[in-house]
Symmetry: C2
Subunit: 429 residues, 2 copies
């Protein structure tokens, strides 16, 4: 963990380095991924069988080896204890309600010269959702990806997930049942992304691929961007907490650790105007390492990437926070609105002392798939818009074409495009 004071002489150079650093490991997976993508494109299911045997020790032969049925998802859901089932349903209902409010409006109007103009939104036909196997197989991620797709109107929602040794995660299957997923395929890694993008004999291609994954999955999505739509190039999770001294230091410590426990490369940052409070939070974090089951991961993250910035005044916080453009920003002050009004670059903001970031991970309603690695400067969280596209339209009346056609002809001629000009001038004569 690094502790900086804005009043220190070397603050700017140290802080600038943190802003510049990327925590993504630049793994040399590009070429391997390119090979896998090409194999799946050329040889389809045969390649999937080989890669799945090699990487997941799972043999794809019978229908049951290949896919998981809706009935199996329903059965997994029925096996959950009532409380957990209800928690999943509450989360799903709240996520659905929030995302329904994102549905865009069509436009259709006729302007003053009689030109009809507009834009019509429609859903993509099919979306693919990658669900990692093992530790990172989170049912909450399935809900956060699947529900916006369904709200958008996607007809065919396909999940691919590795099931090493054939083992699937019951909670994920239950979440797939709750989110009305249409197909689940037992395929993982870059080969799954290739199957979704190109299609194979068994797995029909989709239009958009979303969902988290390891470096191979992320690289496969990056390489296939343009062949399909993708959500985002995602990196390690991050939280930035802006807190005054009137906070419970144990609460803030838990908030910082809730990101640190995700991954050793996660980053937790505290900005406070009180050095004494910072010390209390540090102590609370150290105490937690003695008992937290995820302490090993959390400690690695905090030791390597943790950051405390002591400011003279919290007025400095919004500008510092904007430079870090963090995925999650908590504002734990008496008047969070005052700081929020000055913030510009953040994936999601958590207002006030009673809004821990984790409430947004599961159940508040907004999406937890958010831009990381300073990308909140230009990117947004996942939304129904990621599963929709817009078709603009133009309808010219005779009068409208007469009114503006000559100007278009002039521009086309100036650009050296005579057929463009001709297509208008012929209609005007």
């Amino acid at each position: 963990m690094l502790k900086l004071r804005t009043s220190d002489a070397d603050f700017e150079s140290k802080f600038a380095r943190i802003v510049r650093d990327r925590r993504e490991s630049d793994a040399q997976v590009g070429r391997d991924v390119a090979t896998i993508l090409n194999e799946v494109r050329e040889r389809g299911d045969k390649a999937l069988v080989e890669f799945t045997t090699r990487f997941d020790q799972h043999n794809l032969s019978s229908d049951e080896d290949w896919g998981i049925s809706k009935e199996a998802c329903k059965a997994a859901y029925d096996r959950l204890d009532t409380e957990l089932r209800e928690a999943l349903e509450t989360a799903a209902a709240r996520i659905r309600a929030y995302h329904e409010g994102q549905l865009p409006q069509d436009r259709d109007y006729t302007d003053e010269i009689g030109m009809r103009l507009g834009a019509r939104w429609s859903a993509v036909e099919a979306a693919g959702l990658y669900v990692p196997g093992g530790r990172a197989a989170y049912p909450s991620s399935l809900l956060m990806n699947a529900i916006p797709a369904k709200v958008a109107g996607v007809e065919r929602l396909v999940v691919t997930t590795p099931t090493p040794g054939g083992e699937a995660n019951d909670l994920v299957l239950a979440a797939a049942h709750v989110a009305s997923v249409d197909e689940i395929w037992r395929v993982g890694g870059a080969q799954a992304i290739a199957a979704l993008a190109y299609g194979t004999e068994r797995i029909k291609r989709v239009d958009v691929v979303t969902g988290p994954g390891n470096a191979w999955v992320a690289e496969a999505k990056r390489q296939l961007y343009g062949v399909v739509g993708i959500d985002m190039v995602a990196g390690p999770s991050e939280i930035l907490v802006i807190a005054d001294k009137d906070n419970n230091s144990e609460w803030i410590a838990a908030d910082l650790l809730s990101q640190a426990e995700h991954d050793p490369t996660s980053q937790s940052i505290l900005i406070t105007d009180d050095a004494g409070f910072a010390a209390q939070v540090e102590d609370a974090i150290d105490l937690e390492f003695l008992k937290l089951p995820t302490a090993k991961t959390a400690k690695a993250s905090w030791d390597d990437h943790g950051l405390i910035v002591i400011v003279d005044s919290l007025d400095e916080a919004p500008a510092l926070s904007d430079r870090l453009a963090a995925e999650h920003v908590e504002i734990a002050t008496a008047d969070p609105e005052a700081i929020f009004a000055k913030l510009r670059h953040a994936g999601s903001v958590f207002l006030g002392r009673m809004t821990p970031e984790a409430v947004g991970d599961y159940i508040a309603g907004p999406n937890h798939v958010l831009p990381t690695g300073r990308r909140a400067r230009f990117a947004s969280g996942l939304s129904v818009l990621d599963f929709m596209k817009r078709t603009s339209f133009i309808g010219a009346s005779d009068d409208a074409l007469k009114a503006i056609g000559p100007a278009a002809v002039r521009l086309a001629e100036a650009e050296g495009l005579p057929a463009h000009a001709l297509s208008i001038s012929r209609r005007l004569s």
Copy 2:
């Protein structure tokens, strides 16, 4: 040019191949581009000087060699003849008006349990716009990229453009004046994209890069996707015209040629229910090749990629068109609405006999930067949203956290994330 009839026995296999084919040339530029990006990242302006000397025969030394001032743009604007200046202004005003209607609404509400939820949109701080040199330096493209950025609220709009031998295009400079571009740099190719994404001593980095370019520029954008936001991986232009026999065959011929004249890899497609009309259009196109100044390009495009599909009934057209998911779709029938209602995948649609596609290229108002290569299945045209991002926010009251916190705790525990659970449960006790 290929002519197919849906009633032919081999129609499906031939049509399916066209849908599958990509016309993008898969140039082996990936490694070269990676080298250039790395050089600019590491050595900044020095690398720009070297590449610009090598590729553009232009020596970057004085301030005037590096940049083009706002005064120079104003002077270029003043040099234009009045008619052309007015055409630029009309286009700019209409593009601005249409894009202002795209500005998204913020959300801020408190739900039934007392949870405040919302989303706030904001512009990116800086956007970079690539403008190709030479033949493809279109002032209309500058307007179509720059105006949405300015409407979104981007403070710093940077243009990079190669000026081989120092020569800049007066029309482009005039358009930059009209669109209130803030900076213009005489740098092109992959090195320009690198400068925009990473920043150099002279050129400060931006958040989003848009604009057309050659294969090197496109590959640079693809490789830097995630470091900056980008608009789209764009391919050759395409038009699909759905027309009955009651059209002027010369008008439709001009429409098809208006895409063909862009590039030898452009694609023009006619779907009609009348073989006689198709023959008339063919004849009109052949006649045009004898006199069109752009005939060489247009003929190459039409010969290699042109397509006529004769259908038994225009009722077949929407499904065929959706499979091709073309950038531009013209519906030249008496009741275009009937066909438009059944269309789903298209970049932009042109309704009725008096709406040639070219009117949308210049002056109608909607953006002419549109998804190509079947990407209208999942992608949209350029809009103000490409220059904005959304920050979601959550504010929990005590009661709201009490109402849904326990369910979140249950889910966090089930996912094996105890610090997540702790950050909520501590606040509940």
